[in-house]
């Protein structure tokens, strides 16, 4: 079996937002839409204060609440765990947006570009009208994963089969791989480190794992 997941090493993330920029470039998202965000979180109180940078986005949950509420079945979960949206089926009711406890989904009703109403030539080429008025979110770069697999590549190891955010990370803080494979990069990282998942108490089974300390 395959279950794709991202492992984010919070000890290494510098909050540079290169993953955010790479994601926006790869997916040509409109201004304000960020499938991959990096939170800047302050922890503690003076004088013991730390900043923690936390990459977030769609968690491709085991039990995605967005799928459960979708009235059109536009949101589906693939056998490999990736949660997808059929843009031609979605009616843009926004129910999935309020069902997601990770604030991972967006709906843009009117296209605005980096410089206002008039798109640049690059934006004109890459603008996808299908996304107007419907829900959109991170896909784990499923097109890259699928194409890579078709070419015999290993997602998470070969960059051409790996999500853009993971490829772009300058701090080696993001990893992508198959958590159902005990020998995979992400499984080994999870074995050798302490990790948590966000809002786990909600029962969603998120598939972004955060490393925070070595296993003692």
């Amino acid at each position: 079996m395959t279950k794709w997941a991202i492992v984010a090493d919070l000890r290494r993330c510098t909050g540079c937002q290169t993953c955010t920029a790479a994601c926006r470039h790869a997916n040509a998202t409109l201004p304000g839409v960020q499938y991959r965000k990096v939170l800047d979180v302050e922890v503690g109180s003076y004088p013991e204060v730390q900043r923690v940078f936390v990459p977030v986005g769609c968690m491709h949950c085991d039990e995605p609440p967005c799928r459960d509420v979708c009235p059109t079945t536009a949101t589906k979960k693939r056998a490999d765990g990736i949660v997808t949206i059929d843009y031609d089926l979605c009616i843009g009711c926004g129910y999935c947006i309020v069902a997601c406890p990770y604030q991972a989904r967006y709906k843009v009703s009117k296209a605005e570009f980096a410089f206002g109403h008039n798109p640049t030539s690059s934006e004109t080429q890459r603008y996808d009208k299908r996304l107007l008025g419907v829900a959109q979110k991170c896909t784990f770069c499923s097109d890259r994963v699928d194409e890579g697999l078709a070419q015999g590549l290993t997602p998470g190891v070969d960059p051409r089969a790996t999500p853009a955010c993971v490829n772009a990370c300058i701090a080696d803080a993001l990893y992508f791989g198959n958590t159902d494979d005990a020998g995979s990069n992400v499984s080994q990282l999870l074995d050798g480190n302490k990790s948590f998942r966000m809002h786990e108490e909600l029962g969603t089974g998120p598939n972004i794992h955060y490393l925070w300390d070595e296993e003692s």
Partner: protein, 301 residues
Amino acid sequence: MKGDGGAGQFQGVTPWLQTAWDMRAAGNFIGGGTGTGLLFLAAIAALAGGGSPLLVVVGLIAVAGGLFSVFLEIGRPFRSLNTFLGGRRSWMTREAYVAMALFPLGLASLVWPAATPFLLLLVLPYIYCQARMLKEAKGIPAWREPAIIPLIMASALAEGAGLFALLTAILGRRLPPWALLLLLLALGLRAGVWLVYRRRLASGGAPTRVVPKLARFTPPFLFAGHAVPLFLLVVAAVLPSLLAPLAALAGVVVLLAGWAMKAFIITRIALNQGFAIPVTPVRGKRRKGVDAAGTAPGWHQ
């Protein structure tokens, strides 16, 4: 996001007010609750021999108005029939299924009044679907609180009973005792469930910013929306000659309070979950005395 803003825009680490559902979505809960509540009483009135086509017509119009309101909210309205595809999991689809049975039966009852009591079989599932729709929105703590289910259902009954009292006065009929009793019961139930709902949200069930909003809303909601109509109904019981106008006035107040409550829940306290880390990552060597506690910004720590 420029232009229309776009629903879901990132606004920081602490929970923020969702913008995916606005008053148009609230309109569905307002119209659906009031309409099904009224149809519930219309069905009982028919059983008691006091039915009226007006009650059914107004009830159906309210439900239809709610559905039309949400139709105005969706991004791709011409695909709205796709709503019927998700019945395996989605309470929104199930609501649509029930609506598809409710309207033919309601219209049929206008032709064959003997069919009116059968509306009872559909109005309860309809309002339950609406309540579950909110409950399943896991991203909004104020909606996923389990007390939302009895709250939405109690308010539907109260709103329906309030509108029934008003329409009975308009029809020049005497408000039947069972309807008065139902109005009082629904009023008490809604106030009681609201207090439970409020307590649960205020004691860690919702982001901290929700708490002062609840504190501001609750006194006028309970006083104007419950104590005042209760007083009016007590006066009406003492002075039977004023029963019709006072019950109608109380009904209007109960109705408006229910609408205000739903608008408040959908558009004012619907802060999302925000983000949290249960532990702080250890960078370099762990410092003695500094634990690895995490944080949940915007929530009671």
